[in-house]
């Protein structure tokens, strides 16, 4: 389904943000990508739909190499890749419905988009998705009137409106409180499984990743250094990815592990 081959990205300074990353997602599964801030998780996801241009390597989605498509081809390929963002990235002055329908922008004409004149099946699909994410009745609210959790659920509906072959999810819960985070993750993973959509999910929260993902990739300094099931994500594996630390859940408050956790939301926001 998705094959990443030797994907690399270096910014002008010459530092490699993404260093020769290869892996394959052969079945519809939820793949969590974990790793310290600056490990290149966000760059990896953005290199796949080329919001960031990779410097070398290729990303192949269902047999098509996305990395050497021209701009028209790239737009076609992006239609098949839904994306969900840390800051939700809804168009704030538009209504919930317009935001959800914008997932179909690649399929309608300019004039239809301008007049908000989408095909009936798109509209009923949008209503269904809003219902599935628990926002039925919200269609005429403006996006800037919603809470963070509600916005992210609109973000999920927008991505799924594309009927994507691949979901790219960039830190979906980093701006949400723990309870809302779990709710959003649950909806996201349920829908991904139900629609058999392979999902690449950046996440800094290791327990959430272990809870919800089918497979975990670990990154450090732009390199892929771990690939396994959540069960294989042992303390040794975490030490490999994040460095030496006391990973036991029962580690005492005031120990380095707790401080690390307390810091993580800011770190994630800074990414």
């Amino acid at each position: 389904m998705l094959k990443i081959e030797a994907l690399s990205k270096s910014y002008t300074a010459g530092v490699a943000a993404l260093d020769n990353v290869s892996f394959e997602v052969a079945e519809p599964q939820v793949v969590a990508i974990i790793g310290p801030s600056g490990a290149g998780k966000s760059t990896l996801i953005r290199c796949i739909n080329r919001l960031v241009e990779p410097t070398a390597g290729s990303a192949i989605l269902n047999g098509e190499n996305v990395t050497n498509l021209n701009s028209a081809g790239l737009r076609k390929a992006r239609r098949r890749m839904g994306m969900i963002f840390q800051e939700y990235n809804l168009v704030e002055r538009l209504t919930v419905m317009e935001n959800v329908l914008s997932g179909r922008l690649g399929y309608v004409s300019f004039w239809q988009a301008w007049r908000r004149n989408y095909p009936p099946e798109d509209i009923s699909n949008a209503f269904k998705l809003l219902d599935r994410v628990g926002l039925s009745g919200f269609q005429d609210q403006r996006a800037d009137a919603l809470s963070g959790g509600q916005r992210q659920r609109v973000g999920i509906a927008r991505a799924l409106m594309q009927k994507p072959d691949l979901l790219l999810v960039d830190e979906p819960t980093a701006s949400l409180d723990p309870k809302t985070s779990r709710q959003v993750m649950r909806i996201l993973v349920e829908l991904a499984h139900e629609l058999s959509t392979p999902t690449l999910l950046n996440i800094h929260d290791v327990p959430l990743a272990k809870n919800f993902a089918d497979r975990v990739l670990g990154m450090q300094d732009g390199k892929l250094i771990f690939d396994g099931t959540p069960d294989e994500l042992t303390e040794d594996a975490l030490t490999l990815i994040y460095g030496e630390e006391d990973w036991k859940p029962e580690a005492k408050a005031g120990s380095p592990a707790e401080q690390e956790n307390a810091d993580s939301p800011e770190q994630a926001a800074a990414v």
Binding site: V91, R93, R158
Partner: protein, 252 residues
């Protein structure tokens, strides 16, 4: 304000020196100037009462000014969109951006009356030169505001729309337009009000409107009619400002 006494007194001395230099170097006809108060008295006494008897001339001039302002605002508002997009560094490619910025700086630097007189030389006397002048001024003003708004808006919303596979025009109408539309309309309405004010002066160099009539009354020492025109202009500007505030209030 300025704590350092040396600096404060230094600035004061500099100011006095500047005054001496500037007043000394200006070619001032002091005998003519000294008659100013007396002449002002004569002019003002000739101005009263204002003479509205040639109201048809007045109405024609004012209508022309208002029409020039309306037409120029509308055309300027539309032309400002491409110019503003080209002058936004986060949307336009570098060479286009630099060219558009250059045009904006150039048109903003020159006073409307200079632009008007150049247009009068190209297109002849009359409202056409006036409309074109106001169009240039409007495009420059609205375009600059638009470019700044686009540069300051959230790029994330645009990124999300791009990620859906939308083409550039669709990114504009979904990712950009909703973010900048309210202010764009507000600035355009403000510009209409500014154009009404400026439409009264471009006529002084022959570019149509009430300014042409006003300038003629001064050269004919027709001061009671001048005052009538001035009062009408003040009323018109007042109405324009009122209308502009009303519409902008409605735009939330």
């Amino acid at each position: 304000m300025i704590e350092n006494p040396l600096l404060r007194h230094g600035l004061l001395v500099l100011a006095v020196m500047y005054l001496a230099w500037s007043l000394g170097s200006l070619e001032i006809d002091w005998s003519r100037t000294s008659q100013g108060a007396e002449r002002a008295g004569r002019i003002f006494s000739r101005m009263f009462p204002p003479d509205f008897s040639r109201w048809s001339l007045l109405v024609r001039g004012v209508t022309e000014s208002v029409e020039m302002a309306l037409a120029a605002s509308f055309i300027g508002m539309i032309l400002a969109i491409p110019v503003g997009l080209c002058a936004a560094s986060n949307i336009a490619p570098r060479p286009i951006y630099l060219a558009a910025r250059g045009i904006l700086v150039l048109t903003r630097t020159f006073h409307e009356v200079i632009i008007a007189i150049l247009f009068v030389k190209i297109f002849g006397f009359g409202p056409l030169a006036g409309v074109l002048t106001l169009v240039v001024a409007s495009v420059s003003f609205i375009g600059k505001m638009l470019a700044e708004d686009i540069e300051n808006m959230g790029s994330q919303q645009m990124e999300a729309i791009r990620a859906t596979g939308a083409s550039f025009p669709k990114v504009l109408i979904y990712g950009v337009m909703p973010q900048i539309l309210p202010r764009y309309l507000g600035v355009s309405i403000y510009r209409l009000d500014a154009n009404i004010r400026h439409s009264t002066v471009v006529g002084i160099v022959g570019a149509g409107g009430i300014g042409q009539t006003l300038s003629a009354t001064f050269s004919r020492y027709d001061y009671d009619f001048s005052l009538a025109i001035l009062l009408t202009i003040i009323g018109l500007v007042f109405l324009g400002e009122f209308f502009s505030n009303w519409v902008r209030g409605r735009l939330r």
